[in-house]
């Protein structure tokens, strides 16, 4: 009986980073179902390609890293899925791949993968795509355009999304109730509002995401939408339109709650949720693009370490900074 030497503890809790990423991937693939039903297998192909490119980029960088933390934590796949779901269905296939490559190669790998990236890679990739190819990222296929060609470019009649209409200050011509079912022009995964809400609940129950960030985030978005409606209608419908249009709900469930790039203490998380909610509305009011959520996520990620240190200094635990 040869016995091995081992350090305690000898049993572990059942959630590991890999299981958290598997839950995220499960929730994201659920979101793919609706666009595949409505537009044919093209979104699934785009998502698969993006995940492949992200994984390849991550592999490329693990060769350069000395301590290879390995690929098995699946966070590259999650980034690829999020990028593919926030781009329009009729986008050319190279667009999500370019955004995914930027997300991994510029926003994640140089800082040390998974636990060390200061920014949410998917948000950085989407912001890069939005700034470089705005006309491609914000042209959404009209709802009734049926199955799209699998690989080639799809010349499809595009319709302005409710977020674009709201940006010009006009009330969108679709009732909020119909928007619930998600058949309006918008990003691939972010229009299915009910499915996003269901995935959110699933992630909160499995403790993969922290609910307090999403709660504060949506609270601020609702308050600002009610106080400052962007088009001439009553506060209630303004709140409904702001929440249902664009990718606010999707971001509040998948991007803002990323544990790596959000603060680590509960108090700082609430402030972080409030800050990112306010920034989303600021980008919607003053921003140049109709989708402000990804930029708001990036800005609040930059503020996350500061919030953590403030909480520690406030609790008298030595949050001061030593000279570098």
């Amino acid at each position: 009986m040869n016995l091995t030497e081992m350090k305690p503890p000898f049993i572990r809790g059942e959630t590991s980073v890999a299981s958290m990423m598997r839950d995220m991937l499960f929730a994201l693939t659920l979101l793919l179902a609706l666009p595949v039903v409505r537009y044919g297998p093209r979104p699934a192909v785009a998502a698969a390609l993006t995940v492949l490119v992200c994984v390849l980029c991550e592999l490329l960088f693990t060769l350069m890293q000395t301590k290879t933390t390995g690929l098995s934590d699946g966070s590259a796949a999650v980034t690829g899925m999020v990028v593919a779901l926030l781009l329009p269905v009729n986008a050319p296939l190279w667009l999500p791949c370019a955004a995914g490559a930027f997300a991994i190669a510029a926003a994640k790998a140089p800082f040390g993968s998974t636990g060390r990236n200061p920014f949410n890679p998917a948000a950085a990739g989407l912001a890069f795509a939005a700034v470089c190819w705005p006309q491609l990222v914000f042209s959404y296929a009209a709802t009734g355009s049926g199955p799209l060609p699998l690989f080639g470019d799809c010349a499809v009649q595009t319709a302005p999304s409710p977020a674009a209409v709201l940006k010009q200050g006009l009330p969108p011509n679709i009732l909020p109730f119909e928007m619930l079912w998600g058949n309006f022009a918008g990003p691939a995964g972010a229009t299915a509002v009910l499915v996003v809400a269901a995935c959110g609940l699933y992630l909160f129950c499995k403790r993969v995401a922290q609910w307090e960030i999403t709660a504060c985030f949506l609270l601020v978005v609702i308050v600002i939408a009610a106080l400052f409606p962007r088009a001439v209608f009553d506060p209630l419908s303004s709140v409904k339109y702001e929440l249902l249009s664009g990718s606010v709900l999707f971001c509040s469930v998948f991007m803002v709650t990323d544990p790596v790039t959000s603060p680590h203490t509960t108090a700082a998380r609430c402030v972080y949720g409030l800050l990112s909610g306010a920034l989303v509305m600021a980008f919607r009011w003053f921003g140049a693009y109709e989708q402000g959520a990804v930029f708001a996520v990036l800005l609040s990620n930059a503020a996350a370490p500061v919030l953590d240190d403030l909480v520690f200094r406030f609790r008298g635990w030595g949050g001061e900074l030593a000279d570098a």
């Binding site: 510029a106 140089p110 700034v131 470089c132 190819w133 705005p134």
Partner: protein, 204 residues
């Protein structure tokens, strides 16, 4: 002494131009590279302007740098750089007509280029003429290398779209990321060099 000096000058030049290029390694004069370097045309004009501006300022402060007290020296350097900007702009205009106008705000802001200011404040007064000359030329070449590379890459990327200088890759964010990757490449090269010299008994 002659051969030793020549070798030392070669090392200073190479360090400033490539291995310890001040732009990616010390982030000096980042603004022209990331904001103005969105086309090769801009890049060439700015590198020439940098050359015509840094050489006279470097020499001036190599000669009289010691005499000016430390607390007023930064003001003197900026004043000298401002004065020397006029002939430099005129020289650039004669070489490439319409260049100064095309540069717009980027030209005048070269006056307070942190690379020129810091070299003139710290390096020039305390080194001999040859070293200052080698270092100034090295910095000019290094700056030109970085800004032309960035300008070429962005020019290539934007060659398709019609509003070249408007948005997309010509924005400073791409410049910063590109210079970041350049700095990583340089750090990798330097690390390999120190490893190799370390293994070969320390002879460079």
């Amino acid at each position: 002494m002659r051969r030793g000096l020549k070798k030392k000058i070669r090392i200073i030049f190479l360090n400033s131009a490539f291995f310890r290029n001040p732009v990616p390694v010390a982030a000096l004069s980042i603004y022209p590279v990331i904001a103005a370097g969105y086309s090769l045309q801009n890049a060439v004009e700015l590198s020439l302007l940098f050359l015509f501006l840094s050489v006279p300022v470097g020499f001036l402060f190599c000669l009289i740098g010691e005499m000016i007290p430390l607390w007023v020296r930064p003001a003197a350097v900026l004043a000298a750089s401002a004065v020397f900007y006029l002939p430099a702009a005129r020289l650039l205009e004669s070489m490439i007509p319409g260049a100064v106008a095309a540069l717009g705000m980027f030209g005048p802001l070269m006056i307070c280029n942190s690379l020129i200011l810091s070299r003139a404040n710290v390096y020039a007064p305390s080194h001999i003429g040859w070293a200052v000359a080698a270092d100034t030329l090295g910095c000019a070449v290094g700056f030109a290398l970085v800004i032309c590379l960035t300008g070429a890459v962005r020019g290539l990327w934007l060659s398709g779209s019609v509003r070249a200088a408007e948005g997309g890759v010509s924005l400073p964010f791409f410049g910063l990321i590109f210079v970041g990757f350049l700095a990583a490449f340089l750090q990798w090269v330097n690390r390999r060099r120190t490893l190799r010299t370390g293994k070969r008994g320390g002879r460079p």
